[in-house]
Amino acid sequence: MNKYIILIAVIVLIVIAGALYRAYLLPEAAKPVATGVERQITISAKKNQWRFEPEVIEVDRGDKIILTMVNEDDYDHGIAIDAYGISQRMPANSTIKVEFIATQAGDFPFFCSVPCGEGIVDGAKRTHFDMIGKLHVKDLISETQ
């Protein structure tokens, strides 16, 4: 039999199995949560400091997060949060908005995803790789249960 027919069958099976798992087997705790709360947060890439400000943000699980990302630099930065598939450019001297629902609890790094060089800040070397912060998503459900 044509290998591709088998391949397509396997692919369909995987997707169906995944969908079934999502619908019936996914533990209650892991199901995406939406509280309907909108939370406005502003994060700045400080001018020539290779640092996000604030570096730790705390939100509740299920909140809709509206990030206002301010780039104070004359060069580009990026904002990436792997877990939520966020991957956006922050053009020089401008502000962008990023929206997502924090459906899962946990600590997720947010970091600069555009190479942005390095420099000396207050006598210490800082680089693109230091532009990393933490998104802490608190799990209200498990805490109330």
């Binding site: 039999m1 044509n2 290998k3 591709y4 027919i5 391949l7 396997v10 692919i11 995987i14 997707v15 199995a17 995944g18 969908a19 798992y21 999502r22 996914l26 892991a30 199901k31 995406p32 004359d74 060069y75 580009d76 990026g78 904002i79 990436a80 792997d82 877990a83 939520y84 598939g85 966020i86 991957s87 956006q88 450019r89 922050m90 053009p91 020089a92 962008i96 459906t103 899962q104 609890a105 946990g106 600590d107 997720f108 790094p109 970091f111 995803s113 555009v114 190479p115 942005c116 060089g117 390095e118 420099g119 000396i120 070397k125 680089t127 693109h128 790789f129 990393i132 998503v137």
Partner: protein, 824 residues
């Protein structure tokens, strides 16, 4: 039922032949069909009452290929094959050039940015207005980024100058994103230059097989469309144009190298036909008529003058001469022939005028039979299976299924309902599974190996020889012209009757000046080497098959064989002891006399080539079995073999038998190489797993052999085998490097490592936290990396880097120097 071998045009990959076979074999009346992509031929057996050839042609046409029916004239001339190969190589080269032209700005910019963490500039005028860089920090990254910035600044300056005439660069009236430039540059690479990958993938999918092209198309398309849509519509942070452009460019480079390494079609057959005489002088009604040889018939009486080639095989009916049969039989000494003796076409008549009766013409001649044997042996050689294509049969479905599993895992389980997250991870997996480094592993190593070999004067006519040479167990050497120089040299000069050696030699050499005979030449050479000017000879006379006669310095000098001495009335009986001893050493002996008194006995033999002995010793050290095959007589063969330390000798092997000897060696399960130089060696060269032709040899041998030793130095056989071994090691190293990237990076791109570094999604494992808290900066870096997944642009960068590392590793092969060479 008829069986036909037909040519098919328009096949562009191995899958095409599978497609044709699949479709045609299903038709009623078709018994069997076997299509070969490499040879562009199909062998089809069908019942003409059930299906016509026209119908088969029609079906093949529908698939997009062209069957050349017999009436359309589908003969494969060597010129056509050559032209086809040249076209293919040209096309591959054009594609690489075009791809490099478009891709290099993108590749260089992105590679430098990623490698040295240079500030990424996305806007055109920001790039033009770059400040002259200053060194910020030291170390690899510091200097690297400084140099990269300097390069960008240098590129920006002329742009700034030119644009300055038109607009105010410092305050530009408009802004333009550099990504538009990259988009414009990478689109033609993706869809025009790299179109063959899509085309081959479609064919491959149609026949239900999976070759590397499918993965290439899939991976680079994923990268391209993610970049293009992401940039145009979603403001993604990092379109990674460079990975699709770089991957495609590297793979095209690999394909080009592959084309080059494939080697050229053998021109041997064409060369062989050139060897024969074109015309013959036929005696008809006592008149001499010159006719083309294809008009000769059995029984024709043919006249051959000295220096001419014998046109066809036959029997001498009149005349006496020496004939040089080396080209066909490999016999080193010219043979004396007279009425009743056989002559062979393509051999050279040296001295006398002869008439002979043709006994074999056209396809019956020995020369034509050799041509056929070369053809057969070349056709029967098994093509090497492409290791990479075999892997991809499994690799492709595995990767496709894996990428879907990754999508399902992220979309349904890890972060349910988050399409962005699932897509990014799937794309990263697809990009990193693009097998571009694997496609480069073999051809680049072969090309560098071939180039390195060429530096030592070893011409490899394709990568196949390099791939096989290290496996050789037995090496068969032809004797004449390969191990030996192939022409007689004076080895002993024994002066007689109290005469000075110098005087005797000058007399002999002087009288031989007039003769064309190879034995005479060797005496002249010896004389000339000793004295620049030889005395003059008068009343010179050459008697065919016997010797020469002349007057030198007032002395009546004769040089010739025993029969000649007898007819001149010179007594040579006393010399029998000396002569016998020399003849036992397989040497040819002639006599010289002055004024009817013997003055010298001259012994001549074919001598060893310089370094032949050394090469044989080295090969024996490498545990190779050495065999000598020769058409010469056993005594001469044994003498030479003894000198070289060769144990296995096969003497008096007819040219037709040489290929048989190789075949029987192969039946013993050995990989056999044949080293030879003559036309008579050609069938054996073609039959052997590797044919090695020495550079002093005939054109045919050089065309037939897969390896040609230009310097005529047998030590290069050793070098060639060693270089082959080194190349094979490189290929495996390359495959390892190519694979390890995929094997390590695919799970990281999928986020599989999170299962180890996190206890639950978003919660770092304790051991990772412990590392972060106890190992300072390095610990923090590890922590950050362990909690993130491999982003698509980094995946693309890693793939490009793996290609670079494979190419670099191949280039290291250039440092190989043969041990023999080192010794001096």
């Amino acid at each position: 039922m008829i069986k036909l071998v037909l040519k098919i045009k328009g096949m562009h990959c191995a899958s095409c032949s599978v497609l044709i076979d699949k479709l045609i074999s299903k038709q009623e009346g078709v018994e069997s069909i076997k299509t070969s992509y490499g040879a562009e031929k199909t062998t089809v057996a069908f019942d003409e009452t059930k299906i016509s050839l026209g119908r088969i042609d029609e079906l093949i046409n529908k698939l997009g290929y062209d069957l050349i029916r017999p009436e359309e004239g589908g003969d494969f001339s060597p010129e056509e094959e050559e032209a086809k190969e040249a076209r293919q190589i040209n096309e591959a080269r054009r594609r690489v050039r075009a791809a490099l032209l478009f891709a290099s700005p993108i590749i260089i910019y992105y590679m430098l940015i990623h490698m040295f963490n240079v500030t990424h500039v996305h806007e055109f005028f920001a790039f033009v207005n770059l400040q002259q860089p200053i060194l910020v920090s030291k170390g690899f990254l510091g200097y690297g980024s400084y140099l990269a910035n300097y390069l960008f600044w240098l590129v920006a300056q002329p742009l700034k100058l030119v644009l300055g005439f038109l607009i105010d660069v410092a305050n530009p009236p408009f802004r333009i994103d550099l990504n538009y430039f990259y988009w414009v540059l990478s689109t033609p690479i993706q869809f025009i230059i790299a179109w063959p990958f899509y085309r081959n993938s479609f064919t491959s999918i149609r026949v239900g097989s999976a070759n590397m092209d499918v993965l290439v198309a899939l991976g680079t398309s994923a990268a391209y469309f993610y970049s293009a849509f992401g940039f145009l519509f979603f403001n993604i942070d990092h379109p990674f144009w460079e990975s699709s452009a770089a991957l495609l460019t590297f793979i095209l480079l690999g394909r080009y190298a592959e084309q080059l390494a494939k080697g050229r079609a053998s021109k041997a057959i064409k060369e062989l036909f050139k060897l024969g005489a074109k015309e013959a002088h036929v005696i008809k009604d006592d008149r001499e008529v010159t006719v083309p040889i294809d008009q000769l018939q059995v029984g024709s009486i043919i006249m051959v003058r000295p220096g001419e080639k014998i046109p066809v095989d036959g029997v001498i009916i009149e005349g006496k001469t020496h004939i040089d049969e080396k080209v066909v039989t490999g016999e080193s000494m010219p043979l004396g022939k007279t009425a009743g003796d056989e002559v062979i076409g393509a051999t050279v008549n040296l001295e006398g005028l002869i008439k002979f009766k043709a006994t074999k013409v056209g396809k019956e001649t020995l020369l034509y039979q050799i041509v056929q044997m070369v053809e057969e042996a070349q056709a029967s050689r098994a093509p090497v299976q492409d290791f990479v294509d075999k892997i991809s049969e499994y690799f492709v479905p595995v990767v496709v299924v894996f990428s879907i599993i990754v999508f399902a895992a992220w979309y349904f389980i890890v972060v349910p309902d988050d399409l962005r997250s699932a897509l990014i991870h799937t794309i990263a997996v697809l990009v990193i599974s693009c097998p571009c480094a694997m496609g480069l592993a073999t051809p680049t190593a072969l090309i560098v190996g071939i180039g390195r070999a060429a530096n030592f004067g070893i011409i490899l006519k394709g990568g196949e020889a390099l791939e096989k040479a290290y496996k050789i167990k037995s090496i068969a050497f032809d004797k004449t012209g390969t191990l030996t120089i192939g022409k007689p040299v004076v080895t002993d000069f024994v002066p007689l009757g109290g005469i000075q050696e110098t005087e005797a030699l000058s007399l002999c050499a002087a009288v031989e000046v007039g003769s064309e005979h190879p034995l005479a030449r060797s005496i002249v050479e010896k004389g000339k080497a000793a004295y620049n000017i030889l005395p003059e000879v008068r009343d010179f006379k050459a008697i065919a098959g016997l010797g020469v006669h002349g007057n030198v310095n007032g002395k009546d000098v004769v040089v010739g064989n025993a029969a000649f001495m007898g007819s001149e009335g010179i007594n040579i009986d006393e010399l029998s002891v000396i002569v016998e001893k020399l003849q036992n050493q397989a040497k040819t002996v002639v006599y010289a006399a002055a004024n009817k008194k013997p003055i010298a006995v001259i012994a001549m033999a074919d001598t060893l080539k310089p370094h032949a002995r050394e090469a044989i010793q080295e090969l024996k050290k490498m545990k190779k079995e050495i065999i000598m095959i020769t058409g010469d007589n056993p005594e001469t063969a044994k003498a030479i073999a003894h000198e070289l330390g060769i144990d296995r000798v096969l003497a008096q092997v007819l040219p037709q038998q040489k290929a048989e000897v190789i075949k029987s060696l192969q039946k013993e399960g050995k990989t056999v190489a044949m080293v030879g130089d003559g036309i008579n060696d050609s069938p054996a060269l073609a039959q052997a797993d590797i044919g090695i032709a020495v550079g002093s040899g005939t054109d045919v041998a050089m065309q037939t052999g897969e390896i040609v030793l230009v310097k005529d130095d047998l030590r290069d056989v050793v070098t060639g085998i060693q270089l082959s071994g080194k190349t094979i090691v490189k290929i495996w190293q390359n495959l390892f490097w190519a694979f390890i990237y995929n094997v390590l990076a695919i799970p990281i791109a999928a986020g599989a490592h999170l299962m180890v570094t996190q206890v639950a999604f978003g919660k770092a494992a304790l051991w990772v936290v412990a590392l972060r808290d106890n190992f300072g900066g390095a610990g923090r870096v590890f922590f950050n990396l362990s909690q993130a997944t491999l982003r698509p642009e980094i995946a693309g960068f890693a793939m490009a880097l793996s290609s670079v590392s494979v190419v670099t590793n191949s280039l290291l092969l250039r440092r190989y120097t043969p041990p023999i060479e080192k010794k001096g």
